[in-house]
């Protein structure tokens, strides 16, 4: 497999990973909805999942940009 082909197919893997990240982080945030919001650990977990969600979205956007599907 050439480097160009590796990068081309690898980029789809990254985009897919980004979407999976979005799904997992949304699920984790949903699970935390009933937890005590005054607990610092719960707040930190929620913040972490929000950052994870942003990473997943940015990961997918970057791949869409690379393939000129957007922008």
């Amino acid at each position: 497999m050439t480097d160009a082909l590796f990068v081309h197919w690898g980029s789809f893997g990254v985009g897919l990973a980004g979407l999976v990240f979005v799904g997992v982080e949304c699920w984790q945030l949903w699970r935390l909805r009933a937890w005590d919001g005054n607990d610092p650990v719960t707040r930190d977990r929620r913040f972490g999942h929000l950052i994870g969600l942003a990473i997943g979205v940015l990961g997918a956007i970057g791949i869409a940009k690379y393939h000129h599907w957007i922008f």
């Binding site: 497999m1 480097d3 590796f6 990068v7 980029s11 990254v14 610092p40 930190d44 950052i51």
Partner: protein, 185 residues
């Protein structure tokens, strides 16, 4: 409670093995072997998961191992980024901002350890996700996939996380010592 496991144990040796990837990665970037560079970074990131697993399975978690894992993680990602910046694969300005933010967060972690009065690793869920993001940004930079977009996205999220964690490390009460995991979970 800290377990009596020795400092040199299978988990810390696995953590230390990540340094062996540095020369291979440098060679791959310098000689434009994109696939080798990407695989090297990916395997290094997978080993980061493996050492924690081994530490838990073999019961050899130590406070040293936990901090050593965090330091190795930071140094490895810093090295991978510096090489990419040096070879023009990532924007140097983004690399400089990331270096500044990592130095800031390292100083804050040291301050946290001094406040706690023990060897301890500050647990941040957001930082753990950013480590995963860094493990993606590096191969993406090596492969030339939107390096500017991903590196500046990383800078933005890292800056937000440093500000968020700074409050917890400097002002918030420190939780009581619990069992160590050897690595970030």
């Amino acid at each position: 409670m800290t377990s009596p496991a020795p400092i040199l144990n299978p988990a810390t040796l696995i953590t230390a093995s990540r340094f062996l990837f540095w020369p291979l990665y440098y060679w791959a970037i310098a000689n434009h072997h994109v696939a080798v560079a990407v695989i090297t970074v990916t395997v290094s990131a997978l080993i980061d998961l493996l050492d924690g697993l081994v530490a838990r399975r073999l019961g050899c978690s130590t406070a040293f191992g936990e901090v050593f894992d965090a330091v190795t993680d930071t140094l490895s990602h810093a090295f991978f980024w510096i090489v990419l910046v040096a070879f023009g694969r990532l924007p140097w300005s983004a690399g400089a901002v990331v270096a500044g933010l990592i130095l800031t967060t390292t100083a804050l972690r040291v301050m946290y350890g001094i406040r706690a009065g023990r060897t301890t690793n500050f647990r941040s869920y957001a930082s753990e996700r950013l480590v995963a993001f860094a493990a993606f940004v590096t191969p993406l930079g090596a492969a030339g996939i939107e390096p500017a977009f991903y590196s500046w996205s990383f800078v933005a999220l890292l800056a937000i996380t440093v500000v968020h964690d700074a409050k917890r490390m400097v002002w918030d009460p420190i939780p009581a010592a619990t069992s160590t995991t050897g690595t970030t979970e």
